[in-house]
């Protein structure tokens, strides 16, 4: 059993590449089914957020990573070679470490932001609903949640960071000075957009309007913030009145065009307009950011906010890395222990096979035995075999406790060679 992880994130790939790799949420279960249909792939989970696309798979030992990459790239209008340079590929302990780090928000744009854990939980739920997780990934993902929780409670990495929301507030303050009495417009709904709005409101933004494809959702959100809902068609008219726009729709085309922004600017008489575009693909035309009085930040631009914060969190992150390293070893030991199970059963099966064969041969020669005597012979051989294999089995089981995965692997290989179990081992 091998763990494989391939993916790309804000650190390795520009927004343009992430945009085309991220599947729409409703397509994820189908993608997962397609993935586990590949030869050697047993379990799979796919994490797709605006900052990263990752695929985690538990595969047969000999499964080829190139197939996974081919799958990830297929049907997305991008050649694997083109995407390849942006991809990271991890196996075994490295894959586990990467997953733990991502979930603990050590790999996030804003280190310590809490949203990523929720996004991984969501991805796991999707995978379990699709039926593409079993023993290994179930265990791994649950462990991941525990690790993230442990990092959060034992370090101060969460501090003040709240990623997009944090960045949005910081930027808005440099544009408007005070956010007191400003009004915000949310286009599209999403967890990140909601968080951003709540932070802006905490800083004094007093009026919120919500535009959404489905009006019910817009009304629901708007009620929560004491604002009101508008339809997407009225977007252009509303732009003249609001100060901050947070866009996060799933629309494949831009919802806010340069033409709309230009018209809005006229009505605003020089008051600036701040766009926060957290949608992937982007919702606001990039030309908007060049207009006098318009400031546009997309998800990649927000990365820079982090740089300022990162220094202070380095210490906490170091501590978190230690927790992650410790948990990786624990998990890999468990995973290697999982490898011991087939060896044990193979050993037991082989012993039983020899015994039954030998008993059958002996009984052929001793034809005059009574059924009682045959049963006694059977018991005798069973006891013999059981006692003989008991110690090796205990040795294997003992090896999977408190030994490093590498040592365990070596010892298992040795046991297999001694008992000549090679062919049955992988099953």
């Amino acid at each position: 059993m091998k763990l494989q992880l391939i993916g790309l994130s804000h650190k390795t790939a520009p927004l343009e590449v992430r945009e085309c790799l991220a599947p729409p949420p409703e397509a994820v279960p189908g993608e997962l089914h397609r993935l586990v249909a590949l030869p050697g792939v047993r379990e799979a989970v796919m994490v797709s957020t605006c900052n990263r696309v990752e695929v985690l798979a538990a595969t047969e030992d000999q499964a080829d990573q190139a197939e996974l990459i081919g799958w990830l790239c297929s049907g997305r209008g991008q050649a694997p070679e083109l995407i390849g340079e942006h991809l990271y590929r991890y196996q075994g302990a490295d894959a586990v470490r990467h997953l733990f780090r991502v979930a603990s928000s050590l790999d996030s744009m804003v280190v310590g932001e809490p949203q990523i854990l929720g996004q991984i939980k969501e991805a796991y739920r999707t995978a379990t609903d699709a039926g593409t997780t079993r023993t290994v990934l179930n265990r791994l993902l649950h462990k991941t949640f525990q690790v993230a929780k442990r990092v959060r409670s034992e370090t101060n990495i969460g501090g003040a960071a709240v990623s997009i929301s944090f960045a949005a507030v910081e930027l808005a303050k440099k544009i408007f000075d005070s956010l007191e009495g400003l009004s915000a417009l949310v286009v599209g709904a999403g967890e990140m957009a909601e968080l951003a709005v709540e932070h802006l409101m905490a800083q004094g933004v007093s009026k919120v309007q919500v535009a959404n494809r489905t009006l019910e959702r817009a009304v629901e959100l708007a009620q929560g913030w004491g604002g009101h809902a508008i339809s997407l068609e009225d977007l252009g008219a509303v732009l003249g009145d609001v100060d901050i726009v947070i866009a996060s729709t799933g629309s494949p085309q831009a919802v806010i065009t340069a033409k709309m922004a230009r018209k809005a600017l006229k009505a605003r008489r020089g008051r600036p307009l701040f766009f926060i575009d957290i949608a992937v693909p982007r919702d606001v035309e990039s030309a908007v950011g060049e207009l006098d009085g318009c400031y546009l930040y997309d998800i990649d631009d927000l990365t820079s906010v982090v740089e300022a914060n990162r220094a202070g969190r380095a210490v906490e992150a170091g501590q978190a890395e230690r927790i992650v390293a410790e948990e990786v070893v624990k998990f890999m030991t468990w995973l290697a222990g999982l490898d011991a199970v087939p060896t044990i059963s193979a050993l037991a099966a082989k012993a039983e096979e020899i015994r039954t064969a030998e008993v059958a041969r002996t009984l052929k020669d001793l034809s005059e035995l009574s059924p009682d005597e045959i049963a006694a012979l059977d018991r005798l051989t069973q006891a013999l075999v059981k006692k003989l294999v008991h110690d090796p089995i205990m040795f294997i089981k003992g090896a999977s406790h408190g030994k490093s995965p590498d040592t365990l692997r070596q010892q298992l290989a040795l046991v297999r060679r001694i008992f000549n179990l090679e062919e049955n081992g992988g099953k």
Binding site: E170, L171, K173, K174, I175, F176, D177, S178, R268, R269, G270, R271, P272, G289, E290, D292, G293, Y295, Y297, D301, S304, V305, E307, A308
Partner: protein, 281 residues
């Protein structure tokens, strides 16, 4: 007396500027307060120095380039400190401080021209004229600095780097308030200065307007600032366009202030001022 005060003022400005620059680099609030206090101290001394020069010379100390630069630096520092009371643009000390130091140093090396003690320079109208114009110039220079800061911060925001410039410069909103306040006050004072000058000219020279080069340039400057104010208040030119406009308008103001005083002949020029007796037909 006024010379001694001049040098003490300069010392306070130099120290205040250095500490303000230190604040710019290190961003320690203590440095900001210390720098600001020193600049205030310097401004007080500066005011005393100018008052002493006025008493000693008998006329308003603005009859030569040397004195004009001195008064201009006083006006700029005053504008910065007073506007800062309300808007607190912390970076201004590090910016305006060195400018005032340079202006005062330039004033120090220029030749001393004996002031003219004619009755023409003692009229209340000319006192109002000179003080309003100089205070207006100081405020409009602040508008220029605000415009430059605005353009810099606008660029930093668009560069999306959030680097040291981004963090040190004030918000666009605050710079906008600074620009608007200094522009309004500066324009008002300049208007008062021009009107009082015209009234004085009528009394002293018999006509309100004589097409002296300085008068023409002042009119051009005034019209430009009127246009700047109009586009800002009516058309909403507050962003980059407004900032560029205020930079351009200030360039014309410098021509009016220095060019018309030094290069162009006329009764406003510094060279003719020493010989100006007024009341000529």
């Amino acid at each position: 007396m006024s010379t001694t005060l001049h040098w003490i003022t300069l010392a306070a400005y130099v120290l205040g500027s250095l500490i303000s620059l230190g604040f710019l680099v290190r961003q320690r609030q203590g440095l900001y307060r210390m720098g600001l206090a020193l600049l205030w101290l310097g401004f007080g001394l500066h005011t005393l120095a100018l008052a002493a020069a006025w008493v000693e010379g008998g006329v308003l100390p603005a009859t030569s380039l040397r004195q004009s630069l001195d008064v201009f630096s006083w006006a700029l520092m005053g504008a910065v400190l007073v506007v800062n009371l309300r808007l607190e643009v912390k970076i201004l000390g590090a910016l305006a401080g060195p400018i005032c130091v340079l202006l005062m140093l330039a004033a120090s090396v220029l030749p001393v021209v004996p002031s003219v003690k004619t009755a023409a320079f003692k009229s209340a109208w000319i006192i109002v004229h000179v003080i309003s114009i100089m205070a207006g110039y100081g405020l409009l220079a602040l508008t220029f600095l605000g415009g430059v800061l605005y353009l810099t911060q606008d660029r930093a925001l668009r560069a999306k780097k959030m680097g040291p410039v981004f963090r040190r410069l004030p918000s666009l909103g605050r710079l906008d308030s600074l620009n608007q306040a200094s522009l309004l006050a500066g324009f008002l004072l300049m208007t008062i200065g021009l009107i009082s000058g015209a009234v004085y000219a009528q009394m002293a020279l018999g006509s309100y307007w004589r097409w002296d080069p300085k008068e023409v340039w002042a009119l051009i400057t005034w019209l430009l600032y009127a246009a700047l104010l109009h586009t800002r208040l009516v058309q909403g030119w507050r962003g980059r366009r407004g900032a560029w406009f205020s930079v351009a308008a200030f360039a014309v103001l410098v021509i009016t202030f220095l060019g018309a005083g030094l290069l162009m002949p006329g009764y406003h020029s510094f060279s003719s001022m020493s010989g100006f007796g007024g009341l000529r037909p």
